[in-house]
Amino acid sequence: MAPGAVIDDVRSAVRAGSSWSSPKLGSGIGFEDVTVSYGKLVVLASLSLTIEPGEIMALIGPSGSAKTTALRAVAGFVRPASGRIRIGERDVTDLPPHARDIGMVVQNYALFPHMRVEDNVAFGLRARREAKEAVKQRVAECLRMVGMSAYTQRYPRELSGGQQQRVAIARALAVRPRVLLLDEPLSALDAQIRHSMLQELARLHEAMPSLTVLYVTHDQTEALTLADRIAIMRDGRLVASGPSQALYREPPTRFAAEFLGRANLLPVTLEAADAGDGLARVRLGEISLLVKARPGLSVGRDCLLCIRPHGIAMRPGGRPSNELTGVVRAMQWQGDLHSVTLETQGVLIRMICAPLRDPPSLGVRFPIHFAAEDATLIPEDA
């Protein structure tokens, strides 16, 4: 089924006055100084984070960063040692999972293998003892939303991975959850299906703008594609959070910069903290560069300059722009783009550009440019 058709179904379902926009939807999530520990081992250290109603928050981080622990604390499978968890106005810290009004989707789908697709989707409604007729209607509605109407009588084992995940999403949405918790929902799918499911998730949220989503993933592309805001975890701590775009363009730490995508991190020294127009001046080797100013850094301090590979171009663009001359050290053609590595001032810089008709050969020297607004300062010790 084409994604377009699905979204039309969603829209018509919403227009038809169905219960998508029930008042339950649109509760935010609040972590208030939440610590989770097992014995002496602290797994999640005083996490404070607020997810606004209707927002998609991606919680990302490497393995062992406790992002799943945080999600499971919202679901109620993990008991915080201290701190409170809020869903909407309700403090749910002491509630068992079944009383929390959540919807959950996990990596391996966890569809009940002994139930048909429709019974899987109906499970939560029946557990809440909703009327038979209402359950039936709701199940049909949800399966239509995810484009699985033709599979109601199948058992999970008769479905592909992508189809199973659609059913799992329908099952989670069927109960009209206050919040939707997605725990690595796409990790078990192959690349192509993952991409289309990602778009579908985006469209589902577009159709249900008031649904709050907590999305745990280790994949920064998923997070950047889907999330309004991103929170980055590392070793059980929240290390950065903010709107996706801002976090990508102006990562506060080296870890955030590297985790959200490729970055050139150049060692520089601050020459002037305020060079006018919100800019600062830094020194890289023998040359001076104009970059975005960052408050709180003192002159003479060693910093890292973060420039994304596609922020570097062969022609100047944006004002003010910096120019460097580099020697080509490596060259890779990757189909739809070219990756060029240059050496300048004793450091290597990677740039990504549209495929070049006539790529420069190794050892050639040529100028590259980047705009001051694409260059962000990161304190070295962070």
Binding site: V43, G64, A66, T68, T69, R72, F77, V78, P96, G236
Partner: protein, 291 residues
């Protein structure tokens, strides 16, 4: 995810739920542990009013008990050893020498667990008894008048029957552990010039040791406790502890003596059971037996 999220799985509920274990625990306590305790009490008390070890003293010094204890231990050890050897050979062929129907045969042997143990003892009467097939055939062949084979009504008969009955308990964990040996491992060993005996010694046997220990210790426990086979063969002079308990209680109506012997038997069995538990805890997974 990962090492850190893993402990979270166990903590699914906030309250510990201790109270739920009480009903089955109570049920088992009344029907099993209470009788068990009364056996011990009776063995210490007898008809007297104060606790004393005098009954133990009397029983333990009697020749009857010492014989029974010796027979129990010897039969259990020999039968378990037999189970290990037979189980290992059968499992080797079933796992590593491909032939059609190997799976089916393994399952057939497995169904022996579901059959009453005395079936084998009874059939041995027809095969190896003094008027059994073997003896009649030999008498015809050798032209002798007396049955030449006379092991059934001795400890050997009991041992052979127990080997037959309890080998599946060794075979099960062995087949499970052999299925984990990658064929490539054996092929590589083969390509390096190792012959079958060397492969068995150096590749298969080490992998089989946990299963052998688990299966063997379970066999030791089960053969110690075996009653039906010993009763059916009822060989003269081959009396084991369970049989002695039965004789004292049902034939002699001497409950105190029966309780003393039973307490000793239970002590022996629980020791063997702890051995079995220690082995499966130490070596993991292969809960050989019935479960």
């Amino acid at each position: 995810m990962t090492s850190i999220a893993a402990p979270a799985i166990r903590r699914t509920s906030f309250n510990t739920g201790w109270q739920w274990v009480l009903p089955p625990l109570f049920f088992l306590s009344v029907l099993f542990f209470y009788p068990l305790a009364l056996i011990v009490r009776e063995s210490l008390l007898g008809h007297g009013r104060s606790l004393s070890l005098s009954h133990y003293d009397a029983v333990f010094t009697s020749g009857l008990f010492q014989d029974a204890l010796l027979h129990t231990i010897v039969i259990a050890l020999a039968a378990s050893a037999g189970c290990l050897v037979l189980g290992f050979v059968l499992a080797l062929v079933l796992s590593f020498v491909a032939f059609p129907g190997a799976r089916l045969l393994a399952r057939l042997i497995d169904t022996f667990i579901a059959l009453p143990t005395f079936l084998v003892a009874l059939s041995f009467t027809f095969i190896y008894g003094s008027a059994g097939i073997l003896n009649i055939s030999l008498m015809h062949l050798l032209h002798v008048r007396l049955p030449p084979v006379d092991f059934l009504y001795s400890a050997w008969g009991v041992i052979l029957a127990e080997v037959t009955v309890y080998t599946p308990f060794v075979l099960r964990p062995l087949l499970a552990s052999f299925s984990l040996i990658e064929p490539a491992q054996i092929e590589i060993a083969n390509s390096l010039g190792a012959g079958p005996w060397r492969i068995i010694r150096q590749v298969i046997l080490p992998a089989a040791i946990p299963a052998l220990l688990a299966g063997g210790s379970l066999c030791l426990l089960l053969t110690t406790n075996e009653f039906g086979i010993v009763l059916f063969i009822s060989a003269k002079g081959v009396i084991t502890l369970p049989l002695l308990v039965y004789d004292q209680a049902v034939q002699e109506f001497d409950y105190t003596t029966a309780c003393v012997i039973a307490a000793a038997n239970i002590g022996l069995s629980l020791t063997l059971y702890s051995l079995y538990r220690m082995i499966i805890t130490r070596f993991g997974g292969f809960r050989a037996g019935l479960v």
